[in-house]
Symmetry: C2
């Protein structure tokens, strides 16, 4: 057991951007911190699509949580799954029955894929949230090309060379761009019987335009740029069915053996743990100071929280928002311990939206300042390298990108965990 120090105990559930920032900002504050996560690492999610696209390896965008806090003896890391929260007695209940006492609780458990009532689609259209998801999608894509090279059935071959991405937000745009380049450039000389350049990459969005949170001008630039990379963009058309045969939209069946889901997210079950109100996406409705009504000791932040801004809009579910909330929570805890209960509500400062299109273009929207094309892409690269943890990761990612951009090599094109026979099974067959 940890020796009781008698100090204020902060329990943080979730080591994403919000949870890590809260713990970082509590440095020097007289508290004991326990961080609980189901996984042993913090993940730089904005680059996860590059692992799925074989450009980066898993270790370039993830760091052990313990490593991040190795020099903070008051921070304890616990790899485990939360089963529930006993709000009255201030206890977090873990998978093995252990109960952890908290004085302040920070819930930063993020979100997962939402299939809008079609959970059976997940098998055919996996989403991209974890390192395991990314290596799974990477292996599916690579295995589809391997199968296409082997099959003698031209119809099956076509379905194996058709990649459907559902959802035209940043993840969908980034995934479809990277898969198109993988097929049409990286792999172009690698096969003998098939021509990877003949692969179809189809991006399907239910709404009227891509990147709906960006200005319309950047949305149409994104569409153009994707089409130049060879992506077929379908707008205003919801997918009505996903199966092992492909997708159905607009009454048409599109045979495809690889489908990726980037269409919707659902908050983690924090609202159920707390037995409090949530919005349609499962997000906990928090007060302006990010706490649950009637429980000033419980903060909910990041993708798990629905935070309404002064203009009535919700704070967006992006990394900078989660980090600002983590910082706010730490400041509030510090103030309370000093006896100052400042009533200042959380204020979100929107810094901008970024999305990249393939390996040489991007769109940047920072309100008055908007960028598109190559310059935006450089801006995007610098921002992302800057926010990686540690000099080694920055150098490694810079090196991987340098190689990817100069000689077109993608170092992580590995099917590691499955043998041939497993792959055949993992790709649904006709």
């Amino acid at each position: 057991m940890v020796k009781s120090t008698g100090r204020h105990r902060v329990v943080i559930i979730g080591a994403g951007f919000g949870g890590i920032e809260a713990a970082n900002s509590l440095a020097g504050v007289n508290v004991d911190i326990t961080i609980i996560d189901r996984r042993n690492h913090h993940l730089f999610q904005p680059l996860l699509y590059q692992v799925a696209g074989s450009s980066l390896s898993t270790s370039e965008i993830a760091w052990p949580i313990r490593y991040i806090f190795r020099n903070r003896p008051e921070v304890r890391t616990l790899m485990g799954e939360v089963q529930g929260i006993e709000v009255g007695s201030r206890l977090v209940v873990l998978d093995d029955g252990e109960k952890l006492h908290y004085d302040t609780l920070v819930i930063a458990t993020g979100a997962t894929h939402a299939y809008f009532g079609h959970d059976e689609w997940e098998r055919f259209a996996p989403g991209l949230k974890t390192l395991g998801d990314a290596t799974n999608i990477r292996e599916r894509i690579l295995a589809a090309f391997e199968e296409a090279e082997r099959t003698k059935d031209p119809i099956l071959r076509k379905a194996l060379q058709t990649f459907v991405i559902i959802g035209g937000g940043p993840t969908g745009v980034e995934l479809s761009g990277t898969i198109a380049e993988l097929a049409k450039d990286t792999l172009s000389r690698d096969f003998r019987l098939i021509d990877p350049r003949e692969s179809r990459v189809v991006l399907i969005e239910a709404g009227p335009r891509l990147l709906s949170v960006f200005p319309e001008k950047l949305s149409s630039y994104t569409r153009q740029a994707l089409e130049q990379l060879g992506v077929e963009v379908v707008l205003g058309t919801p997918v009505t069915s996903c199966s092992e045969d492909g997708v159905v939209y607009d009454g048409k069946q599109l045979p495809a053996k690889t489908i990726i889901w980037a269409a919707g997210v659902q908050a983690s079950p924090a609202a159920r743990w707390l037995n409090v109100e949530s919005d349609r996406a499962g997000r906990v409705l928090v007060d302006s100071n990010l706490t649950v009504t009637g429980h000033p000791e419980i903060f909910v932040i990041g993708d798990t929280a629905a935070v309404t801004m002064e203009d009535g809009k919700l704070v967006p579910g992006i990394a900078p928002a989660a980090k600002q909330q983590g910082k706010y929570v730490a400041k509030t805890i510090d103030n309370r311990l000093k006896g100052k209960d400042i009533k200042e509500p959380f204020k979100y400062h929107h810094q901008g939206n970024l999305a990249t299109i393939g390996r040489s273009r991007a769109v940047v929207d920072m309100g008055k300042f908007q960028l598109q094309g190559v310059l935006a892409w450089w801006f995007w690269k610098l921002i992302h390298i800057y926010f990686l943890i540690g000099v080694q990761s920055r150098l490694n990612v810079a090196l991987s990108w340098l190689w990817n951009h100069s000689v077109g090599y993608r170092g992580s094109r590995l099917i590691t965990n499955v043998r041939k026979e497993d792959i055949s099974k993992s790709i649904p067959k006709n």
Copy 2:
């Protein structure tokens, strides 16, 4: 179908050191080549233990086979599993029933773990041959520390912090050294309830000394150096049982939740495919020109072949031997196509044996030239970086090592594919 060129068809089964070298050395020879492998990548096996030890990531020591031959249009890569060989009609039978015709066949399928009649031990004591094995072992080791940090049972905690490596060859020596350093150095500040430095790393060898192919002087140096790293070395003692509780040796039960098998290998089933004689380790007994008696068109090389040298000893199962054999096969095929059937038998040139002990020592045996300690370690590093494929891999590995050696960081300490609940299941419990 590949268009028939009418050229001599070489089919190579296995893209290890032997198979890749054969295909490389056939460059410029007027043949069509098909390389069949169960996996999509060539693996630099000598560094695999560093993936298991979290020092390197998978993409640093593996390259897509297709990528290696992207500029050789006459080389076709086929990811698939061989089911058998129809020697009479010169056909390789694949898992999906496809049959591939060959004029010359090169079998370079390597070896796998051998449990000496105790296949049931594999579940508790996995071996290290593939990238999947390495990430599995890495995740078991890391998960054991996570479990140890959580459990309240001191006996279970001790078993979770006990790592047993069975087999004192190079793999066993390298694994035990890297695990000892992981526990006693890399992780030393990362936990709050357990002290990773109290972990036990036990290396058990049935024979009288470690690294039995090295001179006795280097064996005893290796033992000393490992003991300085905190490894307990047990010699002359076979393990008589492996179970979820640990191992039994010398009549004693050693409770341990992580056991790694580095004790024996068994050749791939090539002898069964060919219906020919094999030795006890399953290796095909080949003639002095590496072909199967009565079948000059079938070569067997690398760990799959038992090649007897003039002094009556067997060619060792190491990468340089496989590469020399691959080169010899290519030369023989070239000669035959030119109408010269040279009777020169394969001659193995032994360049030496290397093994590394932790991150700053090694032993090198090149006959008259022997080295131990720090200088041997530099020699080992240079050799290994030199033999990696591609400038990017060399730079990446050099960078990873630099970080590992200077600040003690191991970038690949990730549990990627399992969630907490799966880990609990994967670690056998009392």
